[in-house]
Amino acid sequence: MDYVLAALVGLFIAMGVYLLLSRSVIRMLIGMTILGNGVNLLIFTAGRVTREVAPIIPSALEQPSGPIANPLPQALILTAIVIGFSMFAFLLVLAFRAYQSLDADNTDTMRLAEPEQTPNPPLSY
């Protein structure tokens, strides 16, 4: 099972990197999300995949009655998902605004901050 998940992590990260190399901002955004999901899956796999019950303590007990799944990777992933989701939402709004005001989805044509043709710096001291 671990090997399957590890291969899946590799596939996700490869897809994310491939999409990030694109010029289109929307594709880069999708690549970022897939990359993030690959990383989340990696943390999940790193926490050891076991066939156990969910780490919820029954209301009558003070501690779990038997072996439970490791809850820490789940907490870490939940945090990472929340953060990744909010970053995705922000970047989506940003890409939309950039498309509206720069009329560009292509990073090659986004050259306002770094103008393409600038004369050489002055040679005088």
Binding site: M32, A46, S59
Partner: protein, 535 residues
């Protein structure tokens, strides 16, 4: 839920002792920042003086951090683990001298920038989120400095990133959106790499608490740990804008208002550098030794390429951005020399850069206000109009280049000493150390050339580059009331830098003491409460 049954063995996982209220100085700065930002955000429509509220919050934070720093200096590192869980189960906040001092420096810089930011704000102020976002950024930066848990560090990175997104698009001009796309993607990518490294680290060691990692890391597979450390180096290097992953900084830092650039330059890249210091030197020293040649190469190329970029650039704030990158190279040079002196020099340089790089952007903003231009070709003749601005600019350039007696000189002195003793066999110093020393000196000269060129073009030349010498001197816009506030803030910050440069003894002593805790983290581990146990 139900009353505890006697079968449960609480002392194995929970803190039983009472926590003295004095320990709260480590958590209050973060809480104040977060809650202050939240309060400002909630009341932004009804609150007419957000600046005063924000300043009050920052001064409360400064008061806490001064107390914290004094306590750390007197008694060694302070730690508190959240929610009554014992470390490593709970999230630990741990402060040693470096983290407390950097957090204090960040709060002082934020207070000054909050005042300076009035220069970028119109008279008819709308209800906006600027002050809330600055406080949120400060909370994130403070959290990153004070945390003792690597996953928590990731969370604070993201808090910082969210706040900086809000600030970099502040005003919404198209050029800012352009800069924000590059800033946003590359920084988000950097934190994703950090998360990737954390996942692998957790899989290898089963813990993310820094003190706990120090205990169990030596027993782990060194090859796998080296991979994790390399990923951390990449992630933090991207955050810190070290060569070759520095391109986002000059592409974005000049787009927002000058006050936002100043805050970013002072705080964000320094957090990346601090994370490198903490994670690679203190937490994973074994893997750092393997990466040393790589770090030295990165340091040398960053040291040289940063100021070269500044020489070739005519956009004033972009040029300053390249000088910031050169400073990161100085820090990397210290980190690639594991000795006490190297770490002390790197830490002291972070402290110096917190102030100096912020001040450089602040004075650049003032220059842009006076000349109404952003490109140094269109500037000129400012010396005749304002002698004091030109003096401040020159002082800051000298401080950034590390010319004595300014603050930038002292960390470089420590680094030069470290370089000569690095890998020394008998009286002869090692090759890497000598090359690093040469790179540091080359960096100082190049930074000086870049700064002097900017100074000559902006202040000394009589007018813009295409103006004939016979043209009458241009009328430069005088500073308005708000502009004078910004000018005063810049002058205060520069005065701080000059004073600290003239009396360097306390900071030098502090840096040496602090480096001791990084090189030998026994006191740090003991403060968290994990000393003596074997894994």
């Amino acid at each position: 839920m139900a009353t505890p049954t006697p079968t449960t063995d609480l002392p194995q996982a929970m803190i039983e002792a009472m926590t003295p209220a004095a320990d709260w100085v480590i958590v209050l700065p973060i809480v104040f920042g977060l809650m202050g930002a939240a309060a400002l955000l909630t009341m932004r429509r009804s609150n007419s003086t957000p600046l005063l509220v924000a300043l009050a919050v920052v001064f409360a934070i400064i008061a806490c951090e001064v107390t914290l720093l004094l306590r750390v200096l007197a008694d060694g590192p302070v730690s508190m683990t959240m929610g009554k869980w014992l470390p490593p189960f709970g999230i630990s906040l741990t402060a040693d001298i470096f983290s407390a001092a950097f957090a204090l420096g960040a709060a002082v810089v934020t207070a000054i920038v909050l005042v300076y930011a009035e220069i970028d704000r119109g008279d008819a102020q709308e209800a906006d989120t600027f002050h809330a976002m600055v406080l949120l950024l400060l909370a994130g930066v403070t959290g990153a400095f004070l945390t003792g848990d690597l996953f928590n560090l990731y969370v604070w990175f993201e808090v910082m990133l969210i706040a900086s997104f809000g600030l970099i698009v502040f005003g919404g001009r198209p050029i800012q959106l352009d800069g924000a796309v590059k800033y946003g993607f590359l920084n988000f990518l950097a934190t994703t790499f950090f998360l990737l490294a954390l996942g692998l680290l957790y899989g290898l060691l089963g813990t993310v608490n820094m003190a706990d990692i120090m205990r169990v890391a030596p027993a782990a597979n060194p090859a796998a740990m080296a991979g994790v450390a390399a990923l951390l180096l990449l992630a933090f290097g991207m955050k810190a804008a070290a060569f070759p992953v520095n391109a986002w900084l000059p592409a974005s830092y000049h787009t927002p208002p000058a006050s936002v650039s100043a805050l970013f330059a002072g705080l964000l890249t320094k957090v990346g550098a601090y994370a490198m210091l903490r994670a690679l030197v203190a937490v994973l020293p074994g893997s750092r030794d393997l990466l040393e040649p790589v770090m030295a190469m990165i340091a040398i190329s960053t040291l040289v390429i940063g100021p070269l970029g500044a020489i070739a650039e005519t956009n004033l704030r972009r040029a300053v951005g390249f000088i910031v990158i050169g400073g990161i190279g100085t820090i990397m040079a210290g980190l690639s020399m594991p000795s006490l002196l190297g770490v002390a020099g790197a830490g002291l340089y972070i402290f110096h850069a917190l102030f100096t790089m912020t001040a450089l952007y602040m004075i650049a903003g003032l220059v842009e206000k006076r000349t109404g231009a952003t490109d140094s070709r269109q500037m000129g003749g400012l010396y005749a109009a304002s002698g004091s601005i030109s003096v401040i600019f020159l002082v800051l350039v000298l401080a950034a280049a590390g010319v004595p007696p300014f603050l930038g000189f002292w960390p470089k002195l420590l680094l030069l000493e470290a370089g000569f003793s690095q890998g020394a066999t008998g009286p002869a110093p090692g090759t890497v150390g000598v090359v690093l020393v040469i790179a540091l000196l080359v960096n100082a000269v190049l930074t000086l050339i870049a700064g002097a060129r900017l100074w000559g073009h902006i202040f000394w030349r009589s007018g813009p580059i295409d103006a004939a010498p016979s043209d009458a001197p241009r009328l430069l816009a005088p500073l308005t009331g708000r502009g004078r506030v910004g000018y005063a803030a810049t002058a205060v910050l520069t005065a701080l830098i000059v004073v600290a440069g003239l009396w360097p003894e306390p900071v030098m002593q502090g840096a040496r003491l602090a480096a001791g805790d990084i090189v030998d983290p026994a006191r740090y581990v003991e403060a968290v409460g994990l000393a003596g146990e074997t894994p």
